[in-house]
Amino acid sequence: MADMLNFAGSSFRSRLIVGTGKYKDFQETKNAIEVSGAEIVTVAVRRVNITDRNKENLLDYLDPKKYTILPNTAGCYTADDAVRTCRLAREAGVGKMVKLEVIGDDRTLFPDIPATLEAAQVLVKEGFVVLPYITDDPITAKKLQDIGCAAVMPLAAPIGSGLGIRNPYNIRIILEHATVPVIVDAGVGTASDAAIAMEMGCDGVLMNTAIASAKDPILMAEAMRLGVEAGRKAFLAGRIPKKLYATASSPLDGILA
């Protein structure tokens, strides 16, 4: 059977979820996403510039029939704002899946966990498929899972920092107790970071800056696709245990005397 990412009744071949921010233009966004193989893409909800005569829209480049559009609540600092943003996003008609992020501080962009829990409760009750961005805290992950979130998305490191997984031990504990998919969200810098997350057994990786701000975003999109695939396969294959001393790969019998 094919190895798929399953949640909330949907199946995805790709375990890479990508953002659409920070690209040079919509064409580059489209090209990078195509190469990344991602099937789920995040978007933000913002006011339309009513005086701008250029009415090109992101969705003109990302066909919602081809991609699962995952609206985020980036920029929301309260549970109310996040819920309001999700309701607006749902009205756009791209489904009921939302990436919930309630920011607690603009320097670290770390989530406000009490507000995230509060918003998640309301959104789940309203029938949203909630994917919350959280710190790498196993207790928070457990609480959100219990509320009914479809996945939990602990950060690897601060958004856009490219530091990679700063606390693999916490991610391991989250993985051990999770009954919903665990998607590492934010902080990935390069393909090996994505591979490490997948090797650990994470169900997916969500990233934006690492691709969009790379010198060559299209090439990095490919690298990330391969990194996620390699990491996933390595996880499924089961790595060898780490040992301090050598074990010979060639037979010890028949060595020339």
Partner: protein, 77 residues
Amino acid sequence: MVVENAVFLIWVKIRINGEEREIAGGLTIAGLLEELKIRPGRVVVELNRNIVARETHGSMLLNDGDVLEIVHFVGGG
């Protein structure tokens, strides 16, 4: 005295995305979007904090003092 079938052009002040605007009275949300050259299929409209379903854009009249938010999807992570 009741004046029937008379046309009064009244201007009403509304707020669109935080910006004050004067529009002709009797304009619907659909009419406003058309005036602003915004494709209704790509946006969501909130009127005085209530989301307006797309199907009702054509019947929802704008009144003086209304606060309108018109949002869409942009690139984000």
